[in-house]
């Protein structure tokens, strides 16, 4: 039974459509990440679910309740905000307690829940403090605590980690993941950070221009991007996308680069049979390249390309080559990167079975 579902959701601001006939359903206990660039409609979708905005058309279901016209407080949701939105004049205890003000619980139950959440999040020593006297990480915990005490089935997170520094962000990411693993709430989490999406989600909905581009598990999104947008958005450095021509002859399917390099595609699982001579977009992940001679046997193609530059980002390194007047990004071993000299011609292989093909017109996966 789907725990949260959006049915034919349309949202317009004045005349500007933000979401158009959007459908999405997630199961009980799912950790859904709405991922996309800013302005893609992901926060709008979250606010519609929260009830902070009204839908123009369509229906929102939580469980089997139609909540489209229900007040935010009665929807059975809890939300953690980007800026934490703690009440500045209330103590941590007061913040948690106000979170329960709509539920009319008996006093001892309120106390019990606050104690439980405070213990779970290790904020017991902070209960008497005001938000101004808390660090960023502590505020984040309090914000999560205020959501937890409500004991509801669905949690909403609106870019909750974007105000934290890198180290804290990693810590809190694990913490939220752990909470989900222990409590099994349904979570809807909005972010523009693909690392957060890939590490925490059980389901990702990649959004752009108010449309869900792809909905699936993190692996599906990464391994089988449904279209050019998803392919380009997920992955860092981004997937290399090149215009090529398909060649189907003698039972062999190949992609032919303008420079004449032939790319072996025989093991590619086409959804429709490939047509000879069509122009398509070929997507090559940076980490599926091998640099150097001698590995030609498992490679789909070998490029002889000059080095532009190599850069090291801590444990990893990226190298950029020039292929047909455009940069080709590769993930390489730091040791390899150190040996690359600008201008040097290097043979580069691409692994078999790792290519992505997209229709040049529609941008859809082939």
């Amino acid at each position: 039974m789907p725990q949260v579902s959006f049915e034919h959701i349309t949202k317009t601001y004045g005349q500007v459509p933000v979401l158009k006939d959007l459908n999405l359903a997630i199961n009980d206990g799912d950790f859904l990440v709405l991922l996309g660039p800013s302005g893609c409609g992901k926060t709008t979708l979250l606010n519609l679910l929260a009830g902070l905005l009204d839908v123009t058309d369509g229906r929102i279901m939580i469980g089997d309740r139609d909540v489209t016209d229900v007040d935010p407080k009665d929807r059975g949701l809890a939300m953690v905000f980007q800026s934490y939105a703690l009440y500045p004049t209330k103590t941590v205890y007061g913040n948690l307690k106000f979170g329960l003000s709509a539920s009319k619980l008996p006093k001892d139950e309120v106390e019990r829940r606050i104690a439980w959440a405070a213990k779970l999040l290790q904020i017991e020593p902070l209960l008497d403090r005001k938000p101004a006297h808390l660090s960023g990480g502590q505020r984040q915990r309090v914000a999560i605590g205020r959501a937890l005490v409500k004991n509801v089935g669905v949690f909403l997170f609106d870019e909750p980690l974007s105000n934290l520094d890198a180290k804290l962000r990693t810590e809190m990411r694990l913490e939220i993941k752990k909470l989900h693993d222990t409590l099994h709430h349904t979570i809807v989490y909005v972010t523009h950070d693909q690392i957060e999406a890939m590490t925490m989600a059980t389901k990702i909905a990649v959004m752009n221009g108010g449309v869900i581009q792809q909905f699936g598990t993190p692996d599906e999104i990464y391994e089988q991007p449904a279209n050019l947008f998803v392919a380009g958005f997920i992955g860092s450095p981004a997937m290399n996308l090149r215009r090529v021509t398909l060649s189907v002859a003698n039972g062999k399917t190949e992609a032919v680069f303008a420079s004449g390099v032939r790319f072996e595609l025989s093991d590619y699982r086409f959804m429709t049979p490939p047509q000879d001579g069509t122009t398509v977009t070929l997507g090559l992940r940076p980490e599926h390249f091998l640099v150097g001679a001698g590995t030609a046997a498992d490679s789909a193609a070998t490029f002889e390309v000059p080095v532009q530059y190599a850069e090291r980002t801590g444990p990893d390194a990226s190298a950029y080559f020039v292929l047909e007047n455009d940069l080709l990004a590769l993930r390489v071993e730091p040791a390899v990167a150190a040996g690359l000299k600008p201008g040097q011609l290097v043979p580069v292989h691409y692994l078999k079975g790792k290519a992505h093909l997209f229709d040049a017109q529609t941008g859809q996966r082939m």
């Binding site: 902070l52 009440y87 209330k90």
Partner: protein, 305 residues
């Protein structure tokens, strides 16, 4: 390396030493201070004259030396102004007006602040579709001259039987202050982060509960500023008091104006000055204690837009 650094230090130490001259006040600064002091003197003269006159006897005043200190310091005028100065036909002194002003002040404050605070809160933080248009209307109302609504307000207050008593004055004060105060509160509340409101809407959802528990505790600063601004403006008002006060409930400023514009008999200038000081003391005390907030208040009241 260490030796080299040491050498550099020695070189610095042995460099010729120019003792820095003790900082002097530049001639420009002196000029400015002198000019500002003269201006300050100009600002103080009226207060000085009023104070010393209020302590003089009429005999000394008649001798004409306006700026000289009282030869005999006497509280006679203060007593006379407070207890037996005439306002119209009643000669019970300014104390009548003082207590009227006090009685007008509290209901005016409560009414005007309560209505504009709630209105500002609703307009700033809740989704009211016509909020923009209403704010613009309030903005215009804030500048409307009193005379254009004077007669209708007299008729309306007479219709609800408050014309000529303290409640009439208090209600009219609240009505006239409402547009400005609403804009001030609205601008203040507009700066409360939307996410806090969203959180509160999800947590409680109740308009009044969010106001009393979240918003009101966050309004401390603006509340004090508005309070000071309103106390002084209500206390200092003359026009509303004289128009709506009726005979028995006129505020202190009206008593003072009646006293000084009296044309029969000899004018007792020392009484007048004592009366003026008595009227001015409450706002002046506030000003000297919380001057900074007072300035914030009047500038907030001036630049509402």
């Amino acid at each position: 390396m260490a030796q080299k650094a040491l050498g550099a230090e020695v070189a610095v130490r042995s460099a010729p030493y120019f003792p820095r001259q003790k900082k002097r006040i530049s001639s420009r600064s002196i000029g400015i201070i002198v000019f500002l002091s003269i201006c300050a003197l100009f600002f103080c003269i009226p207060l000085y004259v009023v104070v010393i006159t209020s302590f003089k006897t009429m005999e000394q005043i008649r001798q004409g030396a306006m700026f000289s200190l009282p030869s005999v310091w006497t509280l006679e005028a203060w007593d006379h102004a407070w207890n037996s100065a005439c306002s119209g036909i009643n000669c019970n002194g300014l104390k009548v007006g003082f207590w009227n002003s006090v009685q007008i002040l509290f209901p005016s404050l409560i009414l005007s602040i309560a209505i504009s605070m709630i209105t500002g809160y609703a307009l700033a933080l809740w989704n009211v579709r016509w909020a923009g248009g209403f704010l613009f209307l309030l903005f215009i109302c804030a500048f409307v001259p009193f005379q254009i609504i004077m007669f209708p307000l007299i008729s309306m207050t007479a219709a609800i039987k408050v014309y000529g008593n303290i409640w009439g004055v208090a209600i009219v004060h609240a009505v006239l202050a409402m547009p400005v105060l609403t804009l001030i509160f609205r601008n203040y509340y507009k700066d409360i982060p939307q996410e806090i409101m969203n959180a509160a809407v999800m947590d409680s959802g109740s308009f009044w509960k969010i106001f009393t528990e979240i918003i009101l505790p966050m309004s401390g600063n603006i509340l004090i500023v508005v309070l000071i601004m309103q106390i002084t403006s209500i206390w200092n008002d003359y026009l509303i008091g004289v128009t709506f006060g009726g005979m028995g409930s006129q505020p202190m400023t009206v008593n003072l104006a009646n006293l000084i514009t009296i044309s029969t008999g000899t004018t007792r200038y020392n009484d007048n000055m004592a009366a003026a000081l008595q009227t001015a003391i409450p706002p002046l005390v506030i000003y000297f204690f919380v001057g900074k907030l007072f300035v914030q208040g009047i500038t907030a009241g001036a630049i509402k837009g």
